[in-house]
């Protein structure tokens, strides 16, 4: 059994080409586009892109929130530095699954969203950027419904670099 040199080379070339294509195709599947950030499953990209707070809430939760005095939003009357505004929320509501913060006057209203698994207290403190005087809105998802608290925070020096 013998192959001519030409036949062998052609076959070898075909096999290598085929193998190369398979490798390239599988590599293509492995390399995720940087923008996707595949490690962030469930990252609410669309919600963060919304400009208005109502649209961000809709994109995040698919429904609207009702104001509730059971949501206690802690925010300063006046933020000396819009780049670092301490905001906290706590609630007496039960079965809380999510807490989010929005800043109406920011270019994109949604600032942060937190998943509260069972066993975690419905309480979050964080620091946000505020571009200008505007409302800060805390959203609490509890028992499948949405509740909110709103507070206006005056900003003297904006958090977007003035």
């Amino acid at each position: 059994m013998s192959f001519s040199i030409e036949q062998f080379s052609a076959t070898r070339r075909l096999v290598l080409q085929g193998a190369g294509t398979v490798v390239l195709m599988s590599l293509g599947n492995l390399v995720a586009p940087p923008a996707l950030a595949a490690a962030n499953d469930n990252y609410p990209e669309e919600a963060f892109k919304q400009k208005a707070d109502k649209d961000a809430i809709q994109a995040l939760y698919g429904r609207t929130a009702e104001a509730s005095d059971k949501v206690k939003l802690d925010a300063p009357e006046i933020a000396e530095n819009g780049a670092v505004v301490p905001i906290a929320v706590t609630t007496t509501l039960e079965n809380v699954t999510s807490i989010s913060f929005l800043v109406s006057g920011n270019p994109n209203a949604l600032a942060a969203s937190y998943a509260i698994p069972s066993g975690t207290l419905p309480s979050v403190s964080n620091r946000l950027k505020m571009q200008q005087t505007s409302n800060v809105i805390a959203i609490v998802e509890a028992g499948g419904k949405l509740y909110s608290a709103t507070k206006e925070v005056k900003v003297t020096v904006g958090g977007c670099g003035g």
């Binding site: 940087p34 950030a37 490690a39 962030n40 469930n42 990252y43 609410p44 963060f48 780049a83 670092v84 505004v85 906290a88 800043v103 920011n106 270019p107 994109n108 949604l110 600032a111 942060a112 969203s113 937190y114 998943a115 509260i116 698994p117 066993g119 975690t120 207290l121 309480s123 979050v124 403190s125 964080n126 620091r127 946000l128 950027k129 505020m130 571009q131 958090g159 977007c160 670099g161």
Partner: protein
């Protein structure tokens, strides 16, 4: 390499209070540098806290979270000496993680 994550977790009975401070520019993408060029957005997108392999707090962040972000929360079911795992991923695909003992 030192971690970008500094965390303090203190158990008070069944409740553990966690405070974390992370070194990160959290650039919003709206700010211009001295030359008038926009500094590209560079911010942590997801921050996860795990105890015994279970997520106890997951933060989805946008660029409006302040630079060198700080966060505080509390959860039940852990005890002094338990380990907490904290990790983050940012919009450029960079990440960091650390483990801390609950005090």
């Amino acid at each position: 390499m030192a971690s970008t994550i500094r965390v303090r977790a203190i158990a008070n009975g069944d409740t553990t209070e966690v405070q974390a401070l992370i070194q990160h520019p959290m650039d919003s993408g709206f700010v211009k540098d001295a030359q008038g060029q926009l500094i590209p957005a560079h911010f942590i997108q997801q921050l996860t806290f795990e105890h015994n392999g279970k997520g106890v707090f997951i933060a989805d962040w946008g660029p409006a979270v302040a630079k060198d972000p700080y966060v505080k929360f509390a959860f039940k079911g852990a005890a002094k000496g338990d380990e907490l795992k904290i990790s983050w991923v940012d919009n450029k695909g960079a990440s960091d993680s650390t483990r801390a003992k609950i005090q």
